[in-house]
Subunit: 148 residues, 3 copies
Amino acid sequence: MLRNNNVVFSCFVFYAVLLLLKMYVLAFITGQVRLRKKAFANPEDAMRHGGLQYHRLDPDVERCRRAHRNDMENIFPFLFLGAIYSMTGPSLGTARLHFVAFTAARVLHSVAYLAALPAPTRSLAYVAAQVPCLSMALQIMAAVASYA
Amino acid sequence: MLRNNNVVFSCFVFYAVLLLLKMYVLAFITGQVRLRKKAFANPEDAMRHGGLQYHRLDPDVERCRRAHRNDMENIFPFLFLGAIYSMTGPSLGTARLHFVAFTAARVLHSVAYLAALPAPTRSLAYVAAQVPCLSMALQIMAAVASYA
Amino acid sequence: MLRNNNVVFSCFVFYAVLLLLKMYVLAFITGQVRLRKKAFANPEDAMRHGGLQYHRLDPDVERCRRAHRNDMENIFPFLFLGAIYSMTGPSLGTARLHFVAFTAARVLHSVAYLAALPAPTRSLAYVAAQVPCLSMALQIMAAVASYA
């Protein structure tokens, strides 16, 4: 239990840290693809791995980077929304549903991105992850609107 | 009211969530521009929308993406600074001035970016948004410097 | 002291805000390099600074942007992990060690990036910064796993 004695918050933190670990894995994969495809963003890295000809773009590396950027665009807002939503007093069951749905959709999003699954798999995962975020955002707004 | 009984924090949360919703709108606009201009970042998306020739860059899409990235660079730090600043005990009036100034400047930044308003409109909005952030950062540092 | 009366949290906040200020400096440097190299991401900016021929990519600007993006990928998660970790009740000495190690490694990462220091300096700084983040993530998971 964390020191704020909020069970919903502790539940949120579990999924939030899981998603951050997922992002770290994605960064690790990006590095491995760079090494395997010999495609480096910086000339000093290319020099260390065979020469300046490896300072180049690669479609698989770019795919990893797009997946990572999309995570930043969506998981970082979730870190904020989930934390604040936990302070609005939701029931644990409803809150967990939000957190689990977001987490599952974002894991599917990463898999669909890296495996280049046929469209619109990735887009549907993206939209599915937006639903709990918008739900939390609206509930937060209802709780704080009078303090604007 | 949120469970921490901090009026300034509730005020901050209102503007923070408003800005996250603004970012979601920007992501939605990016998707719409991709569909309208038929310019997709992934071959699997292009295949679904007419063929691999639509796996291509588009200046309007790139503009949306630059606006979104600039939001990540600036609004995400605000989410942190505003939350901590609310814990330093500022008056509600002063705090709200910081939050409203930042929010207004970032909305103007997005409008200036997407509408390609003549320079330096967008840059001035960027600088105007930095002022409350630097003010909050310095006030936080003054409050915690002895705990470094 | 912040209103939550948590000394570890105040210590964390000091380093967190220091790192955000470091990111603001990086954004400022990017802008200065754009002006010096006359390389602008937007045609409206190029028009203001001499003409559309300056709407172009520049390797030094792209280097700044890569450094900034890597900061977003790593410092933003730290803002979350450090805050939650402070709520798990670590000793001040152990916690400060995590925060100082991360901060030092990320400052070195920025210097190595901007100065294009020979590989693998930058990569080692990146890995060194990951160690305290993974340590905090695992300690948080241990604290909240039963609330999943």
